[in-house]
């Protein structure tokens, strides 16, 4: 078979083009660090890459959500601890007030203390954090508890809704404790304090002693909420740890699918450069190799 000049040069040119385009692709891989920058680089990895990227976004959202829930619950916890303190004080006053040796004026002083406790309790029930009333259910822009003048009855105007936050796929937790769960239902903390005040004012030891049980019940209601809150908070810690380790897994899978193996890429570059160099040398030699050179 005769290899004509045109064939020889065309073949060399094709090889050179091929080598330099492969080399260029390798340069892109090594400088971007990615083996897959467009779908055609590896169509079968596209699904994994897109899922991985969206999993990272949702995973980070779950972590942020958990942290938000934790922050909100920490604020609530501070307030509830104070509520617990108020109920303990109320219990101490009740025990002291039931003492037969007290004079009516002593008891009236105690009664005043109890109504002050009620005022503090009302203040705590209307705790506001970042412009929101934390014990108001969904109605977080208006004070959930208000005291009716004259009758001194405290009413709850918030809702009994829990703001649910997604903390892992399909799992939601309550971001808030409602005022009704904590202050009014089933035991009404304000009424309990009111009852204690009137019992103290009545001056009857037996009536005062009878208040101890409701106060105890009220106290338990607060403690129950506090321990639930503690549970949720520690669950959030676990969730955050879990999501963070999931992120590491997702990122490493993503990297496997789209990142270039630099060691391989660099050794391929050396290989291709050698090959291109060889092609160039051959091209230069082919033009020297001609019968014309030997004709005088």
């Amino acid at each position: 078979m005769i290899i004509t000049n045109a064939s020889a040069y065309r073949i060399l040119q094709n090889n050179m083009t091929q080598d330099s385009s492969t080399l260029n692709q390798l340069y892109i891989e090594s400088s971007s660090g990615k083996a897959v920058t467009k779908p055609s680089d590896n169509p079968s990895a596209v699904g994994a890459i897109i899922n991985g990227n969206s999993d990272i976004v949702t995973g980070q959202r779950y972590i942020t959500n958990c942290q938000n829930v934790q922050n909100n619950l920490t604020t609530a916890e501070t307030a509830i601890n104070s509520v617990e303190g108020i109920m303990t004080s109320a219990k101490e006053i009740a025990v002291e007030g039931a003492n037969d040796s007290l004079t009516p004026s002593d008891r009236s002083t105690l009664a005043n203390q109890v109504s002050q406790l009620k005022d503090s309790l009302l203040g705590l029930a209307n705790t506001k954090e970042n412009g929101k009333y934390i014990f108001a259910g969904y109605n977080d822009q208006t004070p959930p508890f208000s005291e009716t003048p004259v009758t001194n009855v405290v009413n709850y105007t918030g809702t009994s809704d829990h703001q649910m936050i997604e903390v892992s796929p399909g799992t939601t937790v309550a971001n808030n404790i409602t005022g009704s769960d904590l202050f009014t239902s089933p035991v009404d903390l304000f009424a309990t304090l009111d009852n204690l005040t009137s019992a103290l004012n009545s001056g009857d030891s037996a009536t005062i002693s009878a208040q101890l049980t409701p106060i105890e019940n009220a106290s338990n209601q607060v403690t129950t909420q506090l321990s639930q809150l503690g549970n949720t908070s520690s669950r959030m810690d676990d969730m955050i740890t879990m999501q963070q380790s999931a992120q590491v897994t997702v990122k490493s899978t993503l990297s496997q699918n789209q990142d270039a193996d630099l060691a391989t890429v660099l050794s391929n570059i050396t290989q291709m450069e050698t090959s291109l160099q060889a092609t160039m040398q051959v091209t230069a030699r082919v033009s020297n190799l001609s019968l014309i050179n030997y004709l005088s």
Partner: protein, 464 residues
């Protein structure tokens, strides 16, 4: 006994023959890089002998014809293979454009989808937050924008193909005209001189190859020896010395190719062609509509899913939620509902207060936002989630590009091999020509030496 004078003429014929052969060789060398040039060879035959007595005496040699090396089988094979290569090669640019629209990087549709639904996740933590609401509107705007950009990129690819086709038509018509003219010129020349019109044939072969590359045309030779061209579907492009004419018209933003042969005119589709036009038309009329449809369907599904959920909510003003995304319904009542969705999708809300985060007007109600953030986990489009669906579209685009790249490489290798085969038959090798040159030069010297010998003999004779 022969006469010395006629011996001189035999010698002279040797000189002329070698000289002609050297001229043919020189022409070959001069055309070593001419595209489509076929190597020519001097066909040397011995002249008619003279009868003297009972002897047949030769009278030297002559170049009877100048032949053109070639192999019509390989030439046809090369035409077919160049048409295949051109088909794949022509699709590669528009296919890469499509692939770019469906990227997998940070600016992809997939990341717009993720950001949009993530902003609802953020809103669920703080349903009355002005920043979070603004963020929802912003990411919704980005999402709509990304859909529009994809649609625009696909439309631009279509426009690009239209332009390529339109600009190819005039030169194509000219080539058909030239082939027809060459057909009659070759016929005339060859009837008149009984020798082959080599240069004209080379020109015709080159033109035929160009037309094949553009249209996938195949050839046959008619009774008169004229090369006729026809499209793969049988429509004639050149019949003898009569060329057909291509023209274009614009129909609904697409360039329609028409072929007029004689009085009849027909409109052509991608199936009528091979070669470059088939590649371009298939991408424009099959691939792009498919990708547009898929994108429209995704845009439509996301928009309607979001709207359906959003309208069950109550906004911050206490009113029922309105559509977050606006779509324009297709004008054609028989068209699928999603047609044109990616082009028409816009955000219908500009006031952040109008976002319905919950089912009640309560400021802390986040129930809608919570369900919204869950939408991307639902398999709501052909059994996949939004992102899975997008990944499917993007990997389809990637697969098309990578398989087309493979086809381009394979077909170009095949074409190059055939080209090398054809070159080895009809191409010029300078080394070979040099050898011929030496050979003819030697012949020339020998003939000259012979003539001077005869001259000496004549001198001897005259001095006797």
């Amino acid at each position: 006994m022969s006469n010395l004078i006629s011996s001189l003429y035999s010698g002279a014929s040797g000189l002329f023959t070698s000289q002609t052969a050297i001229q043919v060789t020189g022409n070959n060398i001069a055309n070593v890089n001419t595209p489509g040039y076929s190597r020519q060879t001097a066909n040397i035959t011995s002249s008619t002998p003279l009868e003297q007595g009972n002897l047949q005496l030769g009278t030297g040699s002559t170049v009877s014809t100048v032949d053109r090396a070639g192999d019509s089988f390989i030439t046809n094979q090369l035409n077919t293979q160049s048409a295949t290569y051109s088909e794949y090669n022509a699709s590669s640019t528009p296919l890469s454009d499509i692939e770019q629209a469906f990227s997998i990087g940070d600016s992809s549709l997939s990341s717009s989808i993720s950001s949009f639904f993530d902003s609802w996740g953020a809103l669920s933590s703080n349903p009355s937050g002005a920043t979070e609401r603004q963020q929802v509107l912003q990411t919704a705007g980005n999402l709509a924008n990304t859909f529009q950009q994809i649609n625009q990129q696909l439309t631009q690819t279509t426009d690009g193909i239209n332009t390529t086709i339109e600009s190819a038509i005039p030169s194509l018509n000219q080539q058909l005209q030239q082939i027809a003219t060459l057909n009659s010129n070759i016929l005339q020349t060859e009837t008149a001189s009984s020798s082959d019109a080599n240069t004209l044939r080379d020109q015709r072969d080159l033109l035929v190859q160009k037309v094949s590359e553009t249209t996938g045309a195949t050839t046959y030779t008619d009774k008169q020896g004229m090369t006729c061209l026809q499209l793969p579907d049988g429509l004639p492009l050149v019949a003898g010395n009569v060329p057909s004419t291509f023209s274009t018209t614009q129909i609904a933003g697409l360039t329609q190719i028409n072929l007029t042969c004689g009085q009849t005119s027909s409109s052509l589709s991608n199936n009528d062609f091979g070669g470059e036009f088939k590649g371009l038309l298939s991408v424009r009329d099959v691939t792009i509509p498919q990708f547009k449809d898929n994108t429209d369907q995704l845009a439509y599904t996301i928009a309607t899913d979001v709207n359906t959920l959003h309208t069950t909510g109550i906004d911050q003003n206490g009113n029922a939620g309105t559509n977050l995304f606006n779509l324009t319904a297709p004008t054609d009542p028989t068209a699928p509902a999603w047609q044109g969705a990616s082009a028409s999708i816009t955000v219908g809300i500009s006031d952040p207060k109008l976002i319905a985060a919950g089912k009640t007007s309560s400021t802390g109600d986040n129930s809608i936002a919570l369900s919204m953030a869950d939408l991307p986990d639902t398999a709501s489009i052909n059994g996949s989630t939004y992102n899975e669906n997008y990944a499917q579209i993007a990997s389809d685009a990637g697969l098309l590009v990578s398989s087309n790249e493979q086809k381009v490489t394979d077909s170009s290798q095949l074409m190059n091999n055939t080209q090398t085969n054809l070159n080895s038959i009809s191409g010029v090798s300078t080394d070979q020509e040099m050898v011929n040159l030496i050979q003819y030069q030697a012949g020339y010297s020998a003939a000259a030496k012979y003539i001077s010998t005869i001259k000496e003999m004549l001198t001897t004779l005259s001095q006797m």
